[in-house]
Amino acid sequence: MTATASERAAAPSSGEPLLRLRGIQKSFGAVHVLRGIDLDVKAGEVTALVGDNGAGKSTLIKGIAGIHSFDEGEYVFDGRPVTVHNPKDASGLGIEVVYQDLALCDNLDVVHNMFLGRELRHRGLLDEDAMEKRARETLNGLSVRTLQSVRTKVASLSGGQRQTVAIARSVLWNSRLVILDEPTAALGVAQTEQVLLLVRRLADSGLGVILISHNLNDVFQVADDIAVLYLGQMVAQVRKDDVTSNQVVQLITTGSTGAEGASA
């Protein structure tokens, strides 16, 4: 996994974005949730997606992940226009989502969870050896040092460790774009630090990362790009270094600021 990841990292992040959305529209009945969203996500970068509750963040990532499809708009992945109608299409492209509730099975161990639904088989039977080996390699590749054993049940892991398992699962399958939904929401200070390091490492290994977060400290710590949603519109997508925390707060709460020109 590490080898292919570093090859991907060779592609300069300044080129064509990995994911390009243009003019995305989505309504649920009479409710117009997304009103012409533009978003660029580059490989090797962390793009933070911020916005207040109800701004449309969840709808946007669910659309990217194929849980529901967009009504209108251009969905370009890796330079090719694609249609994503269901989660299978998305994972076929290499898009993985780590949901806030992680979706892990407490009664299964780390290896089983990482391969859940995509078990490796050998002559029709589970290939436990190969799965355990690959799980370890992936965790090692991410420099995860917090797990005591890959055969511990997930129920016995801490919040940060569970998050780590969920993230490791998302990169197990030659994924290109990983979407993280509030990965630090329920974590303590030290665990938040570990998870953010992991998020940074994902991007450094060449993957595109979308990070949804309410915590601007986290955003400013790991993001390269900040995209701000306000009432279903993308009011700004700016480089982190071009804005201050206060400006982002203003964008989130009012949808405008003096720095808006930077998004052009």
């Binding site: 979706a103 099975c105 009664n107 005591q148 890959v150 049940k153």
Partner: protein
């Protein structure tokens, strides 16, 4: 935690339980039990206590070879139905109709065999097919329509009783004349074959687990310490020798008239099902998905597992295995009546699975739990009978044992939640 790791495995520290000596194995096992992962331990301990108590109270009847073989044939049907129930319980669902599913399947078999003069093969096929049909109906209603399994199977419990009455006729019975079917619970394996199967079982277990351990050790993966392997294999061998040895002794009351020795045929049915079903649950992707759906159905769905199919297939399997249980009931009684699979059969079967350590909350359990729990239930019924206790007392004691088992389940879950082993 990072400080304890070794250089050759940067991410994952060596297993704390990978102790190579007796003390270490014992300590890690105690830690596991204390953490709430009790497995079948309470059932095994309970079984030992029961056997000791009954052996002291009725030394000449309870421990006799005849009673021992009898016990196996008595418990066979309940144990088999419990094995099927494990799959449904693993999902966090229940099948209250499993007993009458067995009864109905046996009734269909009786009709095919007696009224239509078919051989045993066609009859058994019809029996299992009946189970598949019933399981499919229940499974579709639960998995597709989303009706709680408690309600669906309660309806099936009532409905199937009616179906049986219609098939058999009120108050009637269908006699089973077929020798092949009756032989399952009436006849025994030849002594030599019993020993051969026992040897094959022990050697097979030893070889498979040893090779797996060796392979995993070479690959640098977690493996069982060789000492632990030796202890497990040794225990299995001792149990097998005691078991087959005891059953191979003459147990006929009048040996000159008719010799009676060897492992009962029903034991072979139980062991066969145990092996096949355990293999399915432990080594196939489908089995893994059963655990996943029982643990967190939403996570399973998001992981791309077809949750509906997993549920449906578990109900089909449960009912098909229950049909085999019904076959054993009919074979033992030499007939099918509207009561076959009724009375306490179902509740004993659910009790057996739970007493053995299968959780009613889903996600935790093994097929072997049903066998251990089924033995506990059978020993209670058999021993209390020998003590000449009234049926009322037997029911009360069985109920209490089930309550204790459910409490152990609930308490160990709490401990597991606290220590994070769940």
């Amino acid at each position: 935690m990072t400080a304890t790791k070794k250089p050759e495995s940067p991410a994952v520290a060596p297993e704390p339980w990978q102790a190579q000596n007796l003390g270490g194995i014992w300590r890690s096992y105690v830690a596991k039990v204390r953490g709430g992962d009790v497995g079948a331990l309470p059932a095994v301990l309970g079984l030992l206590v029961l056997v000791i108590v009954f052996s002291i109270l009725r030394p000449d009847t309870f421990t006799s070879e005849l009673n021992f073989a009898n016990l196996i044939n008595q418990s066979a049907a309940v144990t088999v139905i419990a094995m099927g129930l494990v799959f449904v319980l693993l999902l966090g669902e229940i099948d209250l109709s499993a007993g009458f599913t067995g009864g109905t399947a046996a009734a269909v078999m009786g009709v095919v065999m007696t009224n239509h003069d078919q051989g045993w093969f066609i009859s058994v096929l019809a029996c299992i097919a009946t189970g598949v049909v019933i399981g499919t109906c229940i499974g579709l209603l639960v998995a597709r329509l989303g009706i709680p399994s408690f309600v669906v199977t309660l309806a099936a419990y009532l409905g199937l009783q009616g179906v049986m009455l219609e098939i058999i006729g009120e108050g009637g019975t269908i006699p089973f004349e077929n020798e092949s079917i009756r032989a399952i619970t009436d006849k025994n394996l030849p002594v030599w074959l019993g020993w051969t199967l026992a040897a094959a079982l022990v050697l097979g277990y030893a070889a498979v687990t040893y090779l797996r351990n060796a392979r995993r050790r070479r690959a640098g993966l977690q493996h069982e310490p060789t000492l632990l392997w030796a202890i497990k294999t040794g225990s299995l061998a001792v149990i097998a020798v005691l078991f087959v040895g005891y059953l191979s002794r003459e147990r006929s009351l009048n040996p000159a008239f008719k010799s009676l020795k060897g492992v009962p045929n029903s034991m072979v049915v139980i062991l066969g099902l145990l092996l096949v079903l355990s293999f399915l649950l432990g080594r196939s992707a489908w089995g893994r998905h059963v655990y996943a759906v029982g643990g967190n159905a939403e996570a399973a769905r998001r992981a791309g597992i077809n949750v509906m199919w997993v549920k449906l297939s578990c109900f089909i399997l449960c009912s098909s295995v229950a049909a085999i249980g019904g076959l054993l009931l009919a074979a033992r009684n030499h007939s099918v009546s509207p009561q076959t699979g009724g009375n306490e059969t179902l509740l004993y079967a659910v009790g057996a699975a739970v007493i053995g350590g299968t959780s009613l909350f889903g996600g935790k359990g093994r097929v072997v739990d049903a066998v251990i729990g089924g033995t506990v239930v059978a020993v209670i019924a058999n021993g209390m009978g020998l003590l000449n206790q009234e049926p009322g007392v037997v029911y009360i004691v069985t109920g209490l044992v089930l309550l204790v088992a459910a409490s152990v389940d609930a308490i160990s879950r709490r401990r597991a939640a606290a220590s994070g082993r769940a």
